[in-house]
Point group: C2
């Protein structure tokens, strides 16, 4: 049997903000499976800010996407056909097979997830890379102590909203920075953040940080960079820690990202800034996922997903990431399960 | 007996580069010593870049100088008269008594040094705060491994020249950035640095860093900030460590210190920047001083001092720091010993 596989490929590298010309829909046959291969039908795909970086032809921690190739990214699928003893029809699996409807996977490219534990989509979110990013970045670099003040930018995003809740579990005071009053309400009323700052309406952001953090900032979990971070850095306490997770404000800049240099501030405060990617902690993913799962079951962690529907809407969902609209993890549902419920 | 004590006080806070109007010479009597006090005659005073920061009326890791008060700073003196059982006439002592000819010290403000171990001036340099700054900043934050590349800015200064030699002891490849060919020769020919870069004559500094560091930069010991650091940051390896010790390029700026933001670079390289001051390690000074003394005696550490003569020349010596002229530790000799040799 030959499946017709719809794929979304990188049509050209974007300059500045990606748009519809960045992507192209193509069809490609999938031939008979080879021995050991597994045919996976995509159910959910993840769209994440870091994928913008892979569209550049620049050296980074992860290989750039190639023009003409499928956009790679986290996805969840169901096994349709298997020539492997390790997988069988109906298994739900996750892997990096990305923006395509089917994928002929090798055994090592996918791993099974247990659909009875939590909604399967959470394995792209709070139980997946985004949850692990929050977990390791905050606890390994930020190391929040009870009573300290933790500030998070991009706080209503998938990573930020998890960071804040973990910081609360650790007894810190948590201040979230986000781009709408609706998001701020979500952070305070639903997730239990202590304070919120709407950076779009703040007249003097540094002053707002001062108001929200009268005892200064001990940990700043940075998802955005840019002027928001410039403002937070004016309020650091001595020995502050800054896990640098994302710089979404810079990803679509065509020119250089220019702002106040940080050196004098870091010296004055004996402060630490450390960039990281979740892959640095891959040997400890099991530990992190177990803890996150436990907190989720205990009701200590909440999450929200924004799920768009339809394979054809993946590029637009990705572009929405940069419009600051979504709350929580942004996913696209591509298909329903065929063999399980 | 009443001593007439010449002092240099902060006359006004400088805007931008300090000049002669920043300082004022005054005379003040020193009255009879109280019980427990020690009269110290100043022999050497230290002039250091960090003192510029204390001239600002700004929150920092150390209190600002007050207008009308003596400029405080590291100094070495000889005990002239003692009403303490812990000190006697002729003892050589060090403390923060600063820019004045005499000081009536309390017991806890000074400590004895052994003039037989090394020239007494080294206790303001390689065996004092500058050596300890190099030692802890490099080894605790930079953590150079054998075969790694360590880049140092302000490399011919008191701290930088020590950092490079310790990095060599640890088996690293060492590249120094300094502002004259004369300094570069000193670093390579006398101190054993592997490469040198003259940032004043380099046409494309990032390119020079690339040439000098074909395998990238694992540790960047930053004494200067500004454009020199911008250039080095383009060549970081994954998991690079950046001890941020000084930002002398910014200390006399009247406007903001603006340049490329570092966040995206730190993420791409999973790199760490950490500001520090030597005081963070005060509980381990004894350990550091012992190791530095041992390396000095074994001939593994060299140092150079630039010693100006005369109390009246202290302000000019301080201003010379910002002209990039001096090599090694800059000191002013104020008087000869009266009781010892």
């Amino acid at each position: 049997m030959t499946f017709v596989n719809q794929q979304i490929i990188l049509a050209e590298r974007p300059k500045g903000m990606p748009d519809s010309s960045t992507f192209k829909f193509v069809e490609k046959d999938i031939d008979e499976l080879k021995e050991g291969q597994i045919l996976v039908k995509t159910l959910f795909v993840s769209v994440d800010p870091y994928m913008r970086g892979r569209m550049e032809d620049a050296e980074s921690y992860i290989e750039p996407f190639q023009v003409g190739e499928v956009i790679e990214g986290g996805a969840i699928g169901e096994v349709i056909e298997s020539k492997s003893d390790l997988f069988q029809q109906g298994d739900v699996v996750t892997g990096m097979f990305g923006w395509q409807q089917y994928y002929a996977a090798n055994e090592k490219e996918i791993r099974k997830i247990d659909p009875s534990l939590a909604p399967i989509s959470t394995h792209l979110g709070i139980l997946g890379m985004t949850g692990l990013t929050a977990y390791f970045g905050l606890l390994e670099i930020g190391q929040p102590q009870e009573g300290e003040t933790v500030v998070i930018s991009g706080a209503a995003g998938a990573v930020g909203s998890t960071v804040g809740q973990i910081a609360k579990i650790k007894g810190a005071k948590v201040v979230g920075i986000a781009g709408s009053d609706h998001k701020i309400s979500y952070l305070k009323d639903e997730l239990g953040f202590d304070e919120g700052i709407n950076y779009r309406t703040a007249k003097d952001l540094a002053n707002e940080v001062k108001r929200a953090c009268p005892e200064g900032v001990d940990v700043y979990f940075d998802n955005v960079g840019g002027e928001v971070s410039d403002a937070v850095l004016t309020r650091l306490n001595r020995f502050a820690r800054i896990p640098v997770c994302g710089a979404i404000s810079s990803y679509n800049l065509e020119g250089a990202d220019i702002g106040p240099r940080v050196q004098a501030t870091l010296i004055k405060k004996s402060a630490l800034m450390q960039g990281f990617t979740v892959g640095n902690y891959s040997e400890r993913f099991h530990e992190g996922a177990k803890q996150l799962g436990q907190w989720l079951q205990e009701g200590k962690l909440k999450y929200r997903e924004t799920i768009k529907e339809g394979f054809e809407n993946i590029p637009n969902a990705f572009l929405d990431l940069f419009k600051g609209k979504n709350i929580g993890k942004l996913l696209v549902k591509v298909a329903d399960r065929q063999y399980g419920k």
